[in-house]
Subunit: 103 residues, 2 copies
């Protein structure tokens, strides 16, 4: 079942764009390991919070991706920018009203 | 620019699945009005909270969709199920690490 993970990452003041650069660094690894979507942006409500929308082939694919060298490297680069305040929502995609969309 | 909207909707105890049925009712209208993605699921952390991930061609497309008959009808059906506690995150999609993905 498709697994969705929404994450919010608060950065130190003014560092959100730097984090976006790290998180959008092209990586063939993610797709090869079951990543279906990985969209990055800055919250419209808090310009120091980066929001990530991920979809994966399964929760397991997402969990094992955290061990990928590219992901570990991104985490290492990102840590100094982060305040530690994080949040998000995880769920199995149950459906979509968009006709013809299989989830 | 692609606009992303993540929404969380708390339901009265045990009513999340009923809300999922309403929100996943097939609608050709959404796609015709710029909806690129509309995924629905139940939070892994709170089984009485439904999470929605939407992407739209623009923030304007999303805003004007709220006036669509199908959306108004879904809101009317959903209201009795909701506690009123809602949340979410809105952002312009700035990029993706998935190679070959245009956002």
């Amino acid at each position: 079942m498709t697994f969705a993970n929404v994450g919010t990452l608060q950065t130190h003041p003014g560092r959100a764009e730097d984090l976006v650069v790290i998180l959008t660094d092209s990586s063939a690894d993610l797709g090869a390991h079951g990543c279906l979507q990985y969209d990055v942006g800055i919250s419209a409500d808090d310009r120091d919070t980066v929001v990530v929308i991920e979809r994966w082939e399964s929760a397991e694919a997402h969990a094992s991706s955290l061990g990928l060298p590219a992901v570990q490297d991104a985490i290492r680069q990102a840590m100094p920018l982060l305040t530690g305040q994080m949040g998000g929502h995880r769920f199995e995609v149950l459906g979509s009203p968009l006709s013809g969309v299989s989830t």
